[in-house]
């Protein structure tokens, strides 16, 4: 079973990298990009076969390591 974790900055946390990407898009002529927020995607291969158990386990992984919950939110998808 696979899981995909999306880690994104919380609302209100300034994202200097996103701002730089937004600026670069503007200089390439892509108008109308109001904001860019950069995050990461982490894919996990799991031996667990029960989707709900897998989700519980991945959420724990996010809380303990994969996301810094002071500044980041996460979302888990079981595939």
């Amino acid at each position: 079973m696979k899981a995909r974790v999306y880690v994104t900055l919380k609302n209100g946390v300034l994202d200097p990298q996103g701002a730089a990407v937004q600026h670069a898009l503007g200089s390439l002529g892509f108008d109308g990009v109001d904001a860019v927020r950069q995050g990461k995607v982490i894919e996990l291969d799991l031996t667990e076969t029960d989707a709900s158990k897998a989700e519980v386990s991945v959420i724990k992984m996010c809380e303990k390591l994969l996301a810094n919950t002071v500044i980041e939110d996460f979302k888990v998808e079981i595939l």
Partner: protein, 223 residues
Amino acid sequence: MRSAVIVFPGSNCDRDMAVALERASGVKAQMVWHKDASLPDGLDVVTIPGGFSFGDYLRCGAIAARSPIMRSVIDFANKGGHVLGVCNGFQVLIESGLLPGALMRNSGLKFVCKDSEIKVTTANSPFTNAYTNGETVTYPIAHHDGNYVADAALVERLNGDDRVAFTYSNNPNGSSADIAGVLSKNRRVLGMMPHPERLNDAELGGTDGSKMFTSLAEALVSA
């Protein structure tokens, strides 16, 4: 003062830290590998040096903070032990939950490497008691992710408890309230981005950092 320096794969200020500790205390610092399960007995202070532990993978300091030795370091701190984290060591202390806030990419996105004027915001700590309140010193800074993020409530709490140890005179990285170093509630854990251990010898540019280690050595005279 009996001290230890924790060494991770990618640490690169560990020897400077050991030299600074030994010069101030006259006692050789013990180098402790991150895979060790426990700290040597009888330590007064544990230091976490600068560098790029585990290649800054995932987030700076995130993997190091979950290494076997850190469980002992957290335990040591919770029992009232003194812990100093510099640069990557600060990131590790934040990731391990010993200090509040977060450290993000510098607001200018560039790695910043230069001497920086730093204000000693409080002399009321074992790390800073040889300085005076408000004294300015020069410490080198060298980091890519030193942008200290604290919301208004946290800044207010840190200021109210006199836990901001150092601030930048010219904020180089976007840190909230110019914060360069913070203390734990019991004032025995200090994390800071600037490098006092790198300015510890007149031949290498100055001795502004030495006072921090003499502060510690005087506060922690071994019984």
